[in-house]
């Protein structure tokens, strides 16, 4: 049976990653502004097909 796409594990982990990235981005921003882009880069990487 197909799972409901609104509650797949990939989706739940993606939301969690987004929240962690946002928190890390805000923390890094306070430390040094250019490091605030590192979590965003990781989010971009997560969404690319090649990872899976």
């Amino acid at each position: 049976m197909r799972q409901d796409s609104s509650s797949t594990p990939i989706l739940r982990v993606s939301y969690a990653l987004l929240l962690i990235a946002l928190a890390a981005g805000i923390f890094a921003f306070r430390y040094q502004i250019r490091f605030a882009l590192l979590p965003a880069a990781a989010v971009f990487g997560w969404t690319q097909t090649g990872g899976l």
């Binding site: 799972q3 796409s5 797949t8 594990p9 990939i10 989706l11 982990v13 993606s14 990653l17 987004l18 990235a21 946002l22 981005g25 921003f29 502004i33 250019r34 605030a36 882009l37 590192l38 979590p39 965003a40 880069a41 990781a42 989010v43 971009f44 990487g45 997560w46 969404t47 690319q48 097909t49 090649g50 990872g51 899976l52």
Partner: protein
């Protein structure tokens, strides 16, 4: 610990580290390239340009505008696992995908990372930023045992992946908006100064040049449209030619009757044996291997086998010995034994009106031909 778990761990670690190596090297190289470009080009706030680019990409992810992203439309070779073993293949996959530019790019985020590195012109920062991108990209592999459905097969992997497309698009949108905001802050000027700089650039260019660029931009839109229309016409023309050369495809329910012996067995296969499940028939000739198609054939066989969940038959038009020699080129795995139907006198190929090989026919559960396809590089007519 089960042996496959050890292999999985070694492969994933190798994949991640190999990708990290290639990603950091590419990131550092981009940083050096950015520094070199910064010396050549006027250093008029490159972060401002990157900020504008991020806004354009945000608008693209919102779906308000549409344009293809520069990307190499190639998938990393799955057959490496058969050629080099799973562990070595995982390292090679990691290295290849870690390069970033070697495979598909679906969302704008990757190009934003590249643009930021070029604007910063700092190799260390470039390595760290592209390294972060890679770690994010390798993360789903680490999570895969928990992310994948228990009954997953290869085809459902992409179904699951495409089901998340909207979510991934939104994640990219947020990431791009965040990056744009940070990049604008890195410009180090107030909003008024940015506007003054843009107006100053326009004044320096002169209105004549600005209108010249605008006219070219306006010309480009119909040119791109015309290009797309021509491509569609070419595609339709090719489809028409294909249908003409396979007139029986117009008529559902008509499958040529055949009776072919299966290589290595005494079994004879007829259309009635194919009833009940979608099936694929892949027509090949021994000459296909001699024309340097062997690697492509192996890849095609692998893909077709997965597409039909194992219901793939290879129809070899040639004598038994030559077909037997071709077999290793088609077997992509030692564990998978694809049945080969012998068509020694070519009668079956003629019945299917095969003009060139390799060519695949897809049959539905009632053995009606529902599709066919051939490689662009298929060898000359029979």
């Amino acid at each position: 610990m089960p042996p496959y778990r050890k292999l999985w761990t070694q492969s994933v670690v190798g994949y991640t580290f190999a990708g990290l190596v290639s990603a950091t090297v590419v990131g550092a190289t981009l940083g050096l390239l950015g520094r070199w470009l910064g010396q050549l080009l006027p250093r008029e706030e490159p972060f401002l340009v990157v900020g504008v680019l991020s806004l354009v990409l945000v608008v693209r992810e919102l779906g308000w505008i549409s344009f293809p992203l520069p990307s190499r439309r190639r998938q990393t070779e799955r057959t490496w696992a058969n050629q080099f073993g799973f562990r070595a293949a995982a390292i090679m996959w990691g290295f290849d995908i870690g390069l970033g530019f070697s495979t598909w790019v679906q969302y704008g985020g990757f190009w934003m990372v590249v643009a930021v590195i070029l604007a910063a012109g700092d190799s260390g920062y470039g390595a760290v930023l592209l390294g972060s991108y890679w770690l994010g990209r390798a993360l789903p592999v680490w999570f895969s045992p928990w992310l994948l459905r228990e009954d997953w097969i290869f085809s459902t992997l992409f179904e699951d992946r495409s089901a998340q497309d909207l979510m991934y698009r939104r994640m990219n949108l947020l990431g791009l908006a965040w990056t744009g905001g940070i990049v604008f802050l890195m410009v180090g000027t107030e909003g008024a100064r940015i506007v003054t700089w843009i107006i100053g650039c326009l004044n320096d260019l002169g209105w004549f040049y600005v209108s010249y660029i605008l006219v070219w931009g306006l010309t480009l839109v119909p040119a791109l449209l015309l290009h797309q229309i021509l491509r569609e016409i070419m595609w339709l023309s090719q489809q028409r030619d294909d249908l003409r050369s396979h007139p029986h495809l117009h008529v559902p329910g008509l499958i040529p009757q055949f009776s072919a012996s299966m290589l290595g067995t005494k079994k004879t296969v007829t259309p009635s044996d194919l009833i009940g499940q979608d099936t694929m028939l892949l027509f090949v000739r021994p000459e296909d291997a001699a024309h340097g198609l062997d690697k492509q054939l192996r890849t095609s066989t692998h893909g077709l086998w997965h597409k039909t969940s194992g219901k793939l038959y290879i129809v070899c038009s040639g004598n038994t010995d030559e077909c037997r020699e071709l077999l290793p080129e088609l077997q992509f795995s030692e564990r998978v034994n694809i049945p080969v139907l012998l068509d020694q006198d070519g009668a079956m190929a003629r019945a299917f009106q095969v003009k060139s090989t390799p060519i695949a026919f897809r049959l539905d559960a009632e053995t009606r031909i529902v599709g066919f396809g051939r490689q662009l590089s298929s060898i000359p007519p029979i």
